[in-house]
Structure formats: C-alpha cells, structure tokens
C-alpha cells in the first residue's frame, strides 16, 4: 500500500479523526476524543510522515567500546571441539557450505549485514551460538537442533520459500550427526596480553584497595596526634589539611569574608544564591558567632527540599540519567522521571548511602514493609534501565551484551570508581582486571530482565514491558480515556492487524509461484520471466515498506493502549529490573564478540577487589550478593569514592581528581589520610551524606579565601593542597535557577512528572522530531507575545486560535491535566499543532527548577548545553567549566536573561522605589553582598549615563514621531475621506504617551526609570561575579 493509498484510506476508516491537510501531512483532530491529547495524534501522524525522512544511520563513534588492540593479538588454537579432518572439510565445502551460502547467507550472515532472528550461519561458532530461539545446532542430539528442525519444516520453516531438496537434507543429516564439523576459519584469538595472578596480587597493593583503618579516631590518633601541639587547626579536617600544607611548604590562605562564605554555602547546598533578606540575616548571626552562624545556616539548608534538588543532580550526572534512549532511534523513557524524583527524595531524606546503592541494584529483591516502600524500591532499579540504547541493533545478542556492558560500566565507575568494562574484550591493559572478572559480573547482570519500555516501530528492534507499580499515581501524567476511546483505538489496531495479515498473505503468495512455477525445471525459465520478476521485485519492496509502516502504526497505537488498563485509566508504571526465573552463568566472549562465546565463567566479583569474595549460591542470581558486597563498609572503594565526591562538590576539587577512576590510570589522592577519615566518618555516621556534608561545610577548609602567592603557585600550580579556594563557575542548572530566582519567578514546587511523561510512549527518531514532540506535548501558553509568536508559530496555528485546523479547546474540567493544582496547567496541551520551535522556547516555557527540565539525549535545552551540563549518555563526575563567546551572547541577548532582568528591575523598583537603596538591593540579590563605595559610584554613573541615553533616544523617537504625525496629518487631510480608519489606529501607546508627556516636562518618567533599571539589572546578571561562586 503506497503512502497515498494509506492516506486516502485513513480518513475513510476514521472519518471523524482525520482530515487531510494541504501540506500532505495528515492532521488529527481531537474533537472526536473530546480531550486534548497530543501523543496519539503524533503517533498517528508520525506513522505516516516519518516515512519521508530516511533513517540516517550514524555510527556512535564516541560510544564505541570495543577496544581493538590489533597489535596484541596472536594466533591460538581453536578450542573445545575436535579438529576437522580433511575428509570432513571436503564434505563440508562441497555439500554444506554452498547450500548455506545460496540459501541462508542473504538473511543470516555478517556478510549480508543481516542477522535475522539474531542468527548467523557463516561461522561454526555463530551456528552453535544460535539466535533468539537458541542454538542452531545441538551437538548432543542433532535432531533436536533448530537448524535440523527448520530445514525439515518442523516448527520453523527454512529456507522460507521452499524446503531444501531431500538429498540436501540427507547431506545435512550426515554432517550434523558427525557433530557438524566446520572447517571455516573464524580467527578467534584471545588477546596475547594476560593479567597474571601475580599481577592481581600486586594490584591489590594499590592505595585505593587497602582496607580502611579501623576507625576515624584511629587515623586521627595515628596521623594528627603526633603533630597536634604544633597545629593551629582544631577541627580534624583542618588538621589534615594543615599538615599537608606544611609538608608541601605552601602557605595557609586567609579566610574568605562572610558574604562569600554564605554565598558559597547557598550555591553548594541549594543551588541558588541567598535573597537580600537572607544575606542580612546571616550577617547578623555571623557577627555574633561565626561558628554558630555556619552551623545554623547549614542545618537550615540541609532541611530544605532545595537541597535534594541540588545534590540529586550530582548523582544524576554520574548515573547518566536521561529520559530517552539516545542514539539513532532516540525513544523516550516516559517513566524515567520517577527515578529522578526518587534520587532527589533520597538525598532530602538522607537515606543511608549503602541503602541507597542497594535499592538501585536490588530494589526488586529487597523485602518491603509497605506498598509505598515497595514502590520506591522498584523505582530505584530504574537506575539499571535508563542507559543509552541502540534500539535498531539487529542482533539481539549484541543488544543484550551491550545492555549488560553499559550496566557494568556505570555501576563500577559510579559506585566503585573503577572501570571494569575495559575487560569486555581482553584483559584490562592497566588494571589487574581479567576478562573472566568481567564475565563473572556479566553473569550476575545477565540474570535480570531490564525493563525499559518502548514501542514497536520501523526502526525499533527492542522493546520490553514496564513494571506495574503497586500505588497508582494521584495525578497521572496522561489523561484517562473513555471506554469508547479505548475501544476505538483497539478497533483501529485490529483493523491494521488484519490489513497486515492480508499483506503478508499476498507477500507469501507472490513469492511462491516464481520459484515453483510448474514446468520451470530448467534454469532458463527464469530468463523469460526476467522483466516480470523485476516488476515483482518492485512490488515486493513496496509491500515490504507498507508492512513496516503498518507495523509501526500498530506499534505506536499499541504502545499507547498499553499505558491504560481495560477501563481506560492510565496504568502506573516504572522502568527497572526484575529477576529472571533461572540463574545462569555467562560465557566469556572472545574479543567481546557475541558470536565467539568461550568458556562459561562462574558468577562472581572482581578478584582484584576482593581476595576472598562471598560465595554465590547456585540458585541465586548473585545480584543480592553483589549489592551487599558493593554497599559494604568492608569494600575499600565504595565509601572512599563517595566521600571524595562529597568533598569535591563542596571544596571544588576532589581529593582524588578523577572521581570515576581510583585505579592506576587515575590521579593519586592529595590527602590520602583525610580521604580515609572522611570515608570512615561516612560509614560511622550510618552512611549519612548530610552528616558528612555538614562536617566538611563547617570546616575552616571550606571557608578559605583567595590569595596570590608566587611560591605556592610554583610549588603547587594545581592547588592540590588548598593554599587558596577553588572558584567554581556555577553549574548550568544553578545558573538558570539563579536567573529565575533573582527575578523572583522561580517556581519552587516540583512539577508532576515530566514533559516526556506527558508525551507518552512514542518512537521519535532524530532530534528534530523530538523537539516537536516536546512542543506538542507541552507547549504553549494560549497567548504568546509577538516576539515569541514569530519564532515558534507555524502557519498551522493562529494567535487568536481562529484557525480551523486547530483542535478545539478540550473541556478543562474533564482532564486531570487541567486540574488547578497541576503545574503543567498553563501549558496548553491542545496546541498540538505548533510545530516550529527552537530549543530556547522549550527552555523558557518552564519556570520550575532546572533539574526538572526534560533530559532528552542529544537534545538538551540550550541553557543547559551551553553551560556545560552533564552529557547524559556518559558518567560525568566532573563537569567542564568553559567560558565561551556563545555563553556571552546568551547572557547579553537571550530572552530568558532579558526577562529576568525585567523581573529583577521591577522587583527592585517595587521594594526600593528607585531610591539609592536600589543598588544595594540588586547587589545583595545578585551577588549576595552589598556594593563597595566605588561600585556604588560606578553604578550611579552608569544609571545616569543610561538615563541620558534612553532619554535622548526617547526624545529623538518622540521628535521623529511628531514629525511623522505632522506629515501624516497633512497627508490625512488630503485623503481624509479614504483614510479615516487608518487615522484611528495611530494613537500612541500609553507608554509612548507617557514618554511624550515627560519629555516635555524634562523629568524622569517611571517608564524611563524602569528602562534604565532593566539595563542596570541586566548588566549585573551578565557579570562574571553573578556566574561564579568564589
């Protein structure tokens, strides 16, 4: 069925749902469903319209994990199976191989690039390994092998067109019964480089793998006590730091002033600067007692829900949180936001860190007291499911192996600070980690089913169910459906399905006669039909395309239907993992190749990290044992790695500067004893992150200031030993939050769900479409000002909503989306036809905290991407801090910044009436400190300068306008009769009238004052100081 036919048929099928618009894209009216519901519209539209966009394959070069160490390879003998005799080889080459090549390779070989059903038949190993349905050959009992069954049309039917002739099947019988001797050289070789047991033994001597000392007190006694009398510092942390400075011969820095310290604290703990009032409050406390002031402020902030939003984001950086698969297909994860909220809540509740890790690894296995707890634990396992995925990977084994690899990689780097995934293809080059270690872990991770959702589509080859949660959402992200709506969708699905069946039948029929034409025994028969078969080929191709298209439509619709229970209520689902019914070990894959399975490796842990690891019972998946082993005070890495992260987020640089790499390629700790002390404090305080934060934040090290010391600089240019502070450019989320915060427009409530959740399950394809999705799902305040309108409105939507193609407004009362307490209420979901949009529009459509912005892989909002937000496909422990011209342009010109400058200016005028207090207020709000006298002078001069500037501009404009008016009046006088209407529309706006009035009286009008204040506030927001936490 051609696209045309499809298009012409859809309206017939669902006349009330479709109207064919002039631009050849089917638009969709929601009148029929009586509610605003963008996803389905998009699903159906895209089912057709995306066809026009050819899928452009992109090699994911940066994600390439396979480490090809050609120079390290050496020949090694093939293993396990007996050698192939010359006779067997001859038999295979003459009788078997030609048959495979002729009949099977086109669909089942690496050569053709097609591995249908995951099966390749072009190597011995691939045959043994098999495809989705299992091994193709059974060496024990050849008659139960799938290949044998398939060629006998027993369950499977291969080759699909015609069975092989009986004598060929006889040949296969001979071959298979001999154990399928296969002389094809597969060149499987293991890397020559091997990690020896001695190397592992030696590797265990590495600093980060040493057991932690028995207690924090013990370290203090050992390290600090002997020097205690000579130390200025009294707090343990500072004693370690001071000792190091002394040993390194660098000076002790001055203490930063109280304003700087308070600003630091606010950014570090909450992610936004203090208000002017809070600045004054803290100064009052500090003046009485700095220590008490700090303690009070820290307690106050740790109790704020803003804390979790700030620290949760740090965690999301390292666990590559995102709401889509990324890569070529980029399918959204509409349920990923639950994990985001889980992380934020966990930090706010100060969930013990070991518990936090366990929930993420084995939340599905842990016992639970309440349904709410069960819910929380299931959501936690979303951690394992939300990695980037190549959904169009053809080979299911490859997909599975990549999935496990990604889970191992993130888990080991994020939780343990060590990279194990390097050992996927060969023993680790740098660390003493063997390929066996990797596959021991792969066994554990392979024993769970990762449920990430998704919908079937033309390019998606991998989808799973999601996990049903015990407690239903109070506010579902998607609106409920009426039973008849659900029925209509189901009906459409079955229609499409019957169409598909019909097509398949045609397809099969058209293939048979060509080969089985009676009397067409000689090969010459095909020649006579040459023209015809060409034509048939074209038809076949068309059918094939139509089939794919219909399947995609079914997939989209089914994906949507699956979100609902039978009554049309949205189901409450999450991503995560579930145990598999049977526990097995993984096989080592030679060079990481899925078609080259080697020995079976018992499940286990990384031998380098543990000399005598706990045993895994045969019937246990090993995951619980692994989680207990990771989230364990005895594990030398877990507490060290997290303590280092906490230190880094407060001090600016980690004690180990490579937070994901505590191995030999990573950096060494600048303060090893301090790191151990902090790790032990974390453990001793029942893994409380908040307690650790508090101890560090209350240290003197946290309060150090800036100094220029040439000697220290030469000795320690990297400032390892803290002879001055580490200024930080505030992170992208904080910058955007701060802009909204100082403008007074930051919405501190958590939005329910996410934009991506509202969009529902879909296949999105490439970035552009995703942008459209976000718009369709979320866009649009009903009224937009002209500037926005120009940028984002397509011709399909008019400002006044008069366009007929635009769906009618849904009934607000009926939709949970429109409930008053829904934070998305303003975003008029029905404006689904808005198509043209830029990222800035998405970015500025929300005023809640940036951690709640949609995190769609390859499509971060501009304000995030520009200011070095974490790349969501990677484990990011340290963010870049660039200063670029595009950032400068953003701060100078971007609408978000301009709007907030206006908001800050208006607030300032309101609070201060434009008095001399204004400068003070703006400084305290934006810089968390009062201005110095010279700054007041500079600001006053600027305000005066701009008052002149704008005043002059206004006067010039007025003069121009007056002249114009005069000209027009003269002209109007001439054409009074014809131009009457035009005259009427020529009145000056109130603001202009005001300006005119004022220019006459030579006073500073409120409008002029406002304009100047905006320019002033904008300048303040654009400074380096606003962007830095020093």
């Amino acid at each position: 069925m051609s696209m045309h036919r499809l298009k012409s048929r859809l309206p017939q099928i669902f006349p009330e749902l479709f109207s064919v618009s002039s631009d050849s894209v089917i638009s969709f009216s929601w009148n029929a469903f009586g509610l605003r519901f963008a996803p389905l519209a998009l699903a159906l539209t895209m089912g057709v319209s995306t066809l026009a966009t050819a899928a452009v394959a992109q090699d994911e070069m940066m994600s390439e994990q396979k480490d090809e160490m050609m120079s390290e390879m050496a020949d090694s003998p093939p293993k396990e199976r007996p050698p192939v005799t010359a006779e067997q080889a001859a038999f295979f080459e003459s009788k078997i191989r030609p048959v495979l090549v002729t009949n099977c390779y086109s669909c089942h070989s690496q050569q053709s690039g097609r591995s249908e059903g995951g099966l390749d038949v072009d190597s011995a190993a691939a045959l043994l390994n098999g495809g989705e349905s299992g091994p193709a050959i059974d060496l024990e009992d050849f008659e139960s092998g799938l290949l044998w069954k398939a060629i006998n049309y027993d369950g499977l039917e291969m080759p699909p067109q015609d069975p092989l002739p009986p004598h060929v099947i006889e040949d296969f019988k001979v071959w298979l019964s001999q154990g399928a001797p296969d002389p094809r050289v597969t060149n499987v070789v293991r890397g020559a480089y091997r990690v020896t047991p001695e190397a592992i033994e030696k590797g265990r001597e590495f600093w980060s793998l040493q057991p932690l000392p028995e207690s924090s007190v013990a370290i203090l006694t050992k390290v600090v006590q002997p020097h205690a009398s000579g130390l200025q510092a009294s707090k343990p942390i500072d004693q370690f730091v001071e000792l190091q400075r002394e040993q390194q011969g660098v000076s002790t820095p001055p203490t930063a002033d109280s304003y700087t310290v308070f600003r630091r604290l606010c950014f570090d703990l909450l992610g936004v600067p203090p208000t002017a009032e809070q600045v004054d409050w803290f100064q009052g406390l500090w003046a009485q007692d700095p220590e008490a002031a700090m303690s009070t402020a820290v307690d106050y902030m740790l109790a704020s829900p803003k804390f979790g939003e700030r620290w949760g984001r740090h965690w999301l950086d390292i666990v590559r949180y995102a709401e889509s698969t990324g890569r070529e297909v980029n399918m959204p994860y509409p349920q990923a936001w639950r994990y985001r909220d889980y992380v934020i809540d966990s930090f706010n509740n100060d969930k013990p860190y070991d518990r936090f890790l366990k929930e993420q690894l084995v939340g599905d296995l842990l016992p639970s007291q309440t349904r709410a707890q069960k819910q929380e634990q299931l959501i936690a396992t979303g951690y394992l499911a939300m990695g980037p995925k190549t959904l169009n990977e053809r080979n299911p084994r490859q997909f599975e192996a990549d999935l496990i690899d990604e889970q191992i990689d993130v888990t080991t780097r994020a939780f343990l600070g060590i990279s194990v995934a390097c050992a996927r293809c060969h023993d680790h080059k740098f660390e003493a980690i063997t390929q066996e270690d990797y596959y021991a872990l792969a066994g554990i991770f392979g024993n769970m089913a990762t449920q990430f959702g998704g919908v079937n589509s033309q390019r998606t080859r991998h989808t799973t169910n999601l996990i049903e949660l015990p407690l239903a959402d109070e506010q579902p992200a998607m609106p409920a459906l009426k039973p008849e709506q659900l029925a209509a969708m189901n009906e459409r699905i079955s229609e499409l399905n019957s169409e598909i069946r019909e097509l398949r039948r045609e397809f099969a029929q058209s293939r048979r006669p060509n080969r089985n034409r009676p009397g067409n025994g000689n090969s010459g028969g095909n020649n006579t039909a040459g023209g015809n078969s060409n034509q048939t080929g074209m038809e076949q191709q068309q059918r094939q395309q139509t089939l794919q298209r219909l399947n995609a439509q079914v997939g989209s619709l089914q994906g949507l239907v699956d979100c609902y229970d039978k009554d049309g209520n949205p189901r409450t689902l999450c991503m995560g993992v579930q145990p598999k019914p049977r526990s097995t070990d993984a096989r080592l894959l030679e060079r990481g190749e899925v078609n080259q399975p080697g020995a079976t490796i018992p499940r286990g842990f990384v031998s380098l990290l543990d000399k005598s690891p706990p045993k895994i019972k045969r019937d246990s998946s090993g995951r619980m044992e692994f989680a207990n082993w990771v989230a364990n005070a005895e594990n030398p890495l877990t507490a060290r790695v997290m303590a280092n992260r906490v230190w880094q987020h407060l001090i600016g640089e980690g004690i180990v500067r490579t937070p994901e790499d505590f191995g030999v390629t990573g950096s060494r700790p600048s303060h090893p004893e301090l790191l151990d002390y902090l790790a032990l404090r974390l453990i001793e305080n029942k893994w409380s992150i908040k307690s650790l934060i508090k101890e560090i934040a209350l240290s003197d090290a946290y309060r150090i200031g800036w100094q220029v010391d040439a000697i220290a600089r030469d000795k320690d240019p990297e400032n390892l030993y803290l002879w001055r502070s580490h200024p930080q450019r505030i992170q992208s989320e904080s910058l955007r939050d701060s802009l909204l915060w100082v403008g007074g427009t930051l919405d501190l409530d958590r939005p329910h769900g996410s934009l991506v959740a509202q969009a529902g399950p879909l296949e999105l394809g490439r970035g552009q479409q995703l942008t459209q999705l976000l718009v369709r799902a979320a866009m649009a305040r009903p009224q937009m000002d002209a500037a926005e309108g120009d940028e984002m409105m397509s011709d399909s939507m008019n400002k006044d909503g008069s366009n007929d193609a635009r769906p009618a407004r849904p009934n607000r009362e009926n939709s949970p989306l429109m409930a008053d307490d829904n934070p998305f209420r303003r975003r008029d979901l029905a404006n689904a036809n808005v198509v043209a949009i830029n990222e800035a529009t998405v970015n500025r459509s929300f005023d809640y905290r940036s951690v709640y912005l949609p995190v769609v892989r390859d499509l971060l909002p501009r304000s995030m991407e520009l200011f070095d937000a974490a790349e969501p496909s990677m484990v990011i422990g340290v963010r870049e801090q660039s200063n670029t011209a595009p950032q400068a342009l953003f701060m100078m010109n971007n609408e978000l910044v301009r709007q907030q400058a206006v908001a800050l200016a208006e607030r300032t005028l309101e609070k201060t009436g434009g008095s001399s207090q204004a400068i003070d207020y703006v400084f305290k709000t934006a810089f968390s400190r009062p201005p110095a006298p010279d700054e007041v002078a500079q600001c006053t001069a600027f305000i005066a300068e701009m008052t002149d500037e704008f005043g002059a501009a206004a006067r010039a404009r007025d003069a121009e306008r007056a002249a114009e008016q005069e000209r027009r009046q003269r002209r109007d006088a001439r054409n009074r009769r014809a131009q009457r209407e035009r005259n009427n529309s020529n009145e000056a706006t109130p603001a202009e009238a005001q300006t005119q009035a004022n220019s006459a009286s030579n006073e500073i009008s409120p409008e002029l004052q406002r304009q100047v204040m905006i320019a002033f506030c904008h300048a303040i927001l654009a400074t380096a100081e606003f962007r830095y936490r020093n």
């Binding site: 394959a57 090699d59 070069m61 050609m70 660039s882 011209a885 342009l889």
Partner: protein, 470 residues
C-alpha cells in the same frame, strides 16, 4: 590575504566598533596575568595589550590559516588514499598474527593528474585536484580507541588535558580579525572538548564552538543561524555602554581576585561576543554567495549539503581572517560494511573538499591556507566478518593541500597491505610539528610555562617532514 579587514563581509561598522572599544581593549586584556607565562620565544603581539593581535611567526612562510577537516570514526585508508594492489592480490589470505583475513578494497583505484596520484573511485571530484594533493600515507598514532585517539589527534596527548592544535596555533600567531574568533570549531562532538580546548593556555585561545546544523554525522544541511546574536531591547551604542559597565565590574572583580581564570575568561568572551554580533551573521549569510558557488560546494542539497555548507563557511571564515577553522564529519566507523557504508560517506565530502580547494585557489588564498584532512586513525586491511574493517592506529592516511605543501605527492608508505606505516612513518607528533612548521612556528620553541615546566604541543617528540614543503 594581507588585509583581511578589507573583506566586504566585515566592513560594516567596524570603524565605529573600533572607536567604541579602543579605550577598553587594553583594560580588558591587562588582567591576563597568566599571559606572563607565555614563552619569550613566541613573537611579540602587534598590540602588546592584546594577546590575540597578530604576531610574527618564527620564520616567514606561506601558510597563514588552517582548515582542519577531521573525520571522526576513522576512515578506511586502503579504500581511499592508500593504493594497495597487493592487498587485492592477497584477498582472503590470513592476515597472520593479527587474525582475520585480508580484504582487498572493493573499490577501484586509478591514476590522476600529471602527478599520476593513485586515488580511489570514491573521490571523482577530489581526483581532479590530484596535482594539489599531498597524501600522507604513513600516519600512525598511539591509541586504537576513538575518544583517546581523537584527543591525541587534537592535542598530541591523551593521558592529560592539553591544549588543542588550534589553541596552540592561535597562541603562536594571534589572529587578524578581532571581530571573529581566531579559532572556530564547527560542530565538535558533544561531551568531548579536546578538539577546541585551551587547557592551561589563557582562555582567549580556546576555540569557539559553533553548532551549525546539529551534531556531526547527523546529516541534513547546516543551518547558518546563530542563536542569541541580537538584542531587541538595546541598540548597539546602548549595548556597548552596558557592556562597558559589565566589563568595568568584571575588571574590578579580576583585581579583587587576581589570577582568577574564570573572570578573565568572561572578560574575553564578552569582547569577542560583542564584535561577533556584527560580524558573524554577515559571515554566515550565504545569500551573498552565487548559486554557482553553492552548487560547486554541493551545498544546495543531497548528501554533501551539510559538509558542503560547512566547507563554504570555512572558506568565508578564512577569507575574513580566522586563523584556524575545524570542520568535523562523524560516522566513519565502518565495522559492519565497507562496501555499503563508505561510499555515501565519501559522497558527503568529495565534492565539498574539491570545491574548497578550487575556490581558495581561484581567490588566490590557497597558498596561504593549509587544508588538512585526517581521521583519528585508519582501518585494518583485513577483516573479521568478511565485510567491515576494524581499528588500526598503526598505519593510516591523511592529506594536506595548499599552504606551501607540494602537490601531487605521496609521502611515506605503509607495508604492502596497509597494516603499518613502514616508510617515512609520520607519527601524530610529526604531523603536528609539520603543520606548525608550515605556519612558520618552530614546534620546539612554541612553549608555554605551566606548573613550572615549559610545555609544547609535541612534548619531546616531533620530526618535521621537510620533504613535503614546496
């Protein structure tokens, strides 16, 4: 191009801008305390207060600009620029120690131009420029992994954070046009800053990343729209006044916190950004180009549209005085099928590069512009799956055009099958040393003092390939 400021693209309002900012320039740059670490061995800037102002090279040369075309994913040299008849002869034979079997190129090679350079059929347009090409057939590097090899290609080193080639070039030579970044990277891949970073060099030498048309390898035509380039609330004069005020506050901050790298970076970024507001939209306004030019670059449609547009933008940038322009093309990692995957990729770049060479030549700019093409490594001449090729850092090909290199030359060679560089091997360090040399910079004297040590792009390595210099 001795007078880049004469470019019609940038003529507008320049005089006014210069007047408006002349008082400020010195102030802005005076805060660059890290500049004190610059080597006395580099030339003096024409304007001592402005480290970006042009500097004399160590010795006079032709090349003044670089257009660096990098192919991310590692293109297959034996199918493109390294003709290996013996590989075809030995097709199917075991590749020895390395495993796999040799796979002759599925593409035919023929000789082109007076020089008789052997080129693959995948480059019908580039072949017409054969006598201008200087093939480097003996490239090799240290890493067979994409991210690390990309980092080495750009910074010489993949273990530490080091400045990129473009940053070193800008540091060594400054830039002619103060209204545009001296070093531009068009669409570098997300999450890896190695291709444009300044590392320990002062922030002014960081490459400016311009995302025109999305990520590399995503296809589609490059858009020439720059976000946030205009301010609807303020006119130029008003904005300049506002910015001067911002910079005064920044400057004060910089005095309060001397040696604060961030504040200095912000100060620099504003000066550049303000000028870019004028110059960049004009530069990217391709409507000034004739339709013949657009078609010549293949910028009007088809597979070459995106890369063609970027090459055209690169030419316009060089013409306007930008010192170093990098254009990245992604998607060259062809493990699965050379036959199917390589031709469309070559089609993306063949016509644009040929047009770039031709266009620069006809404008008299080819002599002073060095075009450099390279992947991060090459691919194995053997195959494990019968159709694709894997990573090979031991031997691969790059090429250079213009900028004072000999044309129609094939420099160095890999072994008979193309596995490893054997004749006049050119390590990435040598490649860097040669590029700097072509720009008049002695790679041993181009140093920067950091952490008590003088660093250079080539570390302690680098042999100049004098043979390729015309």
């Amino acid at each position: 191009m001795n007078e880049p400021t004469q470019s019609p693209i940038l003529a507008s309002r320049r005089q006014w801008l210069q007047n408006a900012t002349s008082g400020f320039g010195f102030l802005a740059f005076a805060g660059l305390s890290t500049w004190a670490n610059a080597s006395p061995m580099i030339g003096l800037p024409q304007d001592p207060g402005n480290p970006l102002s042009p500097r004399e090279p160590h010795f006079p040369t032709k090349a003044k600009h670089v257009i660096f075309l990098t192919m991310a994913g590692a293109p297959s040299h034996v199918d493109m620029f390294d003709y290996k008849p013996n590989l075809k002869r030995d097709n199917g034979k075991a590749a020895g120690r390395a495993g796999g079997s040799l796979m002759g190129s599925p593409f035919s090679f023929s000789q082109h131009g007076e020089s008789g350079l052997w080129l693959s059929e995948l480059f019908p347009n580039l072949a017409k420029q054969a006598d201008r090409l200087c093939l480097l057939n003996s490239m090799h590097g240290d890493s067979p992994n994409h991210p690390t090899a990309q980092t080495q290609l750009h910074t010489g080193n993949f273990q530490f954070v080091r400045p990129s080639l473009g940053a070193w070039t800008l540091y060594g030579l400054g830039t002619d046009n103060s209204s545009l970044p001296g070093f531009v990277s068009l669409n570098p891949p997300a999450g890896n800053t190695s291709s444009y970073r300044n590392a320990f060099l002062p922030a002014v030498f960081q490459g400016t990343k311009l995302n025109l048309g999305g990520n590399p390898g995503r296809g589609g035509a490059a858009s020439s729209r720059v976000p946030d380039i205009t301010n609807p609330m303020l006119n130029d004069q008003q904005q300049r006044k506002q910015l001067d005020f911002v910079q005064r506050l920044n400057q004060r901050q910089s005095e309060q916190l001397p040696e604060h790298p961030g504040v200095e970076g912000v100060i620099q970024s504003y000066e550049l950004a303000f000028r870019m507001q004028d110059s960049l939209p004009e530069l990217l306004d391709l409507s000034q180009e004739t339709s013949e030019t657009m078609q010549m670059y293949g910028a009007t449609g088809g597979r070459s549209a995106r890369f063609g547009t970027q090459c055209l933008i690169a030419r316009r940038m060089v013409e306007a005085g930008v010192r170093f322009v990098e254009v990245q093309s992604g998607g060259w990692d062809h493990h699965n099928s050379i036959t199917n995957q390589l031709p469309p990729k070559c089609e993306e770049i063949d016509q644009p590069i040929a047009a770039l060479i031709q266009d620069l030549a006809q404008r008299g700019l080819l002599d002073e512009t060095l075009i450099v093409w390279s992947g991060e490594f090459g691919r194995t001449p053997f195959t494990r799956n019968g159709v694709g090729r894997d990573h090979n850092n031991r031997g691969f090909s790059a090429f250079m055009v213009g900028g004072g290199v000999k044309g129609g030359l094939r420099y160095g060679a890999t072994d008979e099958h193309g596995i490893a560089a054997v004749e006049k091997p050119m390590h990435i360090h040598d490649f860097h040393a040669t590029i700097l040399h072509l720009l008049g910079l002695d790679h041993k004297r181009l140093t920067y003092r950091y952490a008590g040590r003088d660093f250079r792009l080539t570390d302690v390595h680098g042999v100049i390939a004098h043979e390729i210099i015309a």
